[in-house]
Amino acid sequence: MTSQNPEVKLLGAWASPYVARARIALHLKEVQYEFLEEKFSAKSELLLKSNPVYKKIPVLIHDGKSVCESMIIVQYIDDVWASSGPALMPGDAYERAMHRFWTIYIDNKFIPSLFDMMTSPTEEAKVEAKEQTMASLQLLEEAFGKISKGKPFFGGDTIGYLDIALGSFLGWMKAFEEMNSPKLLDKSNTPLLCAWAENICNNEAVSAVLPETAKLVEFATVTQTRFKYAPPAK
């Protein structure tokens, strides 16, 4: 899957959806890279040195220079390996703005409520987060309709920036459903995103990278016993 290449390294962890973003981009662009798995318990010297500001994964190290923040890494990969594989960013400036806008929405609104739904300390907070999550998915469903213009992906015929931003979280979304969360993508409420999810998970660059649902459930159960969704009794 990955081969030894001193030029491109990715610091990451198998369970991180943010890391998955960078890996999906690297796979789509057919870039050989060395994957350096960070231990959950202690951050490596290399990580602390290459991301001193946030000390977080993923970090892409290309020719000794580090790039941090998952979607900045995705854009960087798209810029540098422009001649390889499909363009991740659309050609039109307004469409690019839409990909960026919804990516920020996903990062600042959707993902926090998704995780809050499972981990908030009170049932009330979880239910509120669930409502926010479902509302976000409705907005993303509408956005998909407008942006994809009838094609399989946000990026059109091929996986693009926004597909990567959201698709990277499908592993965790499925894991949460296994852990009793409400059905997140469903044919009656989010038919377009259901079809999209199937298409994206069938893509080789994504399936090679997205962690298996069962492994994520195990990971969550073992390390984060607070991942529980249990709606309040009526």
Partner: protein
């Protein structure tokens, strides 16, 4: 075809996010129609163009709306190529984007908390601001930006615009809140020097409101914030002007310490 055939900017005079866009359009000599929003009474148009966040700035180009200042800046740079704001090199772009993210994710919210709080909460936020400025200072002193007049090099670029439009609040807040020192020239000499260079530019002087107006505004908002709440509690709708005045993130209200996003 005339590129700026229909270009409108919805903004607020005291919003640093609005200033970012105004500055970029000015640098590129792009004509546009400016619509001042009363943030305590938002127009139908604004709510229609930015239904999700209901915030300024919103740029409407040929009836297509764009929201989020850094997204708008990149769009403007891509559509109007004259006088570029983003660098051409992919790595340099990644670095600029990273520090823009840092500015809005860490520095801005911390300054917002300083402005909206007092006592222990404020002290902690002031420390945060200093830590954040120290990271930027280090990059200027010995890191990626070493030796540069501006973050963009000899002329201002994306990061200068993002950091610069907002940093003027640091001095204003120091004036409003006696005893609070945010950007001590001795502690942050290079950041201070950069800010002076930035503020001396004609285009910047023409974009940023006069200091006395900013002071008057900040004093009023501070009084209102402290009147409504003490410390780090929610801000009511009446204090909405503060959310775009203080350099907090576009998605967080002034006293809301944002959660790390990645």
């Amino acid at each position: 075809m005339e590129k700026s055939s229909s270009l409108k900017l919805f903004g607020s005079w005291a919003s640093s996010y609005t200033h970012r866009v105004q500055l970029a359009l000015k640098l590129k000599n792009i004509k546009f129609e400016y619509i001042e929003e009363d943030l305590s009474n938002k127009s139908e148009a604004l709510l229609q163009f930015n239904p999700i966040y209901k915030k300024v700035p919103v740029l409407v180009h040929d009836d297509r709306p764009l929201a989020e200042s850094v997204i708008i800046l990149q769009y403007v740079d891509e559509v109007w190529n004259e006088r570029p704001i983003l660098p051409a090199d992919p790595y340099e772009r990644a670095v600029m984007r990273f520090w823009c993210h840092f500015a809005d994710d860490k520095l801005g919210p911390a300054v917002g908390v300083v402005f909206a709080s007092s006592g222990e909460v404020q002290n902690a936020a002031v420390d945060q601001v200093h830590e954040n400025l120290a990271l930027i200072e280090r990059e200027l002193r010995e890191g990626y930006f070493k030796g540069r007049k501006f973050f963009g090099g000899d002329s201002i670029g994306l990061l200068d615009i993002v950091l610069g439009c907002g940093s003027y609040w640091l001095a204003v807040f120091e004036e409003v809140m006696t005893g609070v020192k945010l950007v001590d020239p001795e502690a942050f000499p290079l950041f201070h020097a950069w800010l002076r260079e930035f503020e001396a530019l004609d285009e910047v002087k023409e974009t940023i409101p006069a200091v006395d107006k900013l002071l008057e505004y900040a004093k009023a908002v501070r009084a209102m914030l402290l009147g409504h709440c003490m410390g780090n509690t929610g801000v009511t709708d009446a204090a909405t002007p503060a959310t775009t005045a203080a350099p907090a993130t576009a998605t967080a209200s002034v006293p809301d310490i944002t959660v790390d996003s990645s």
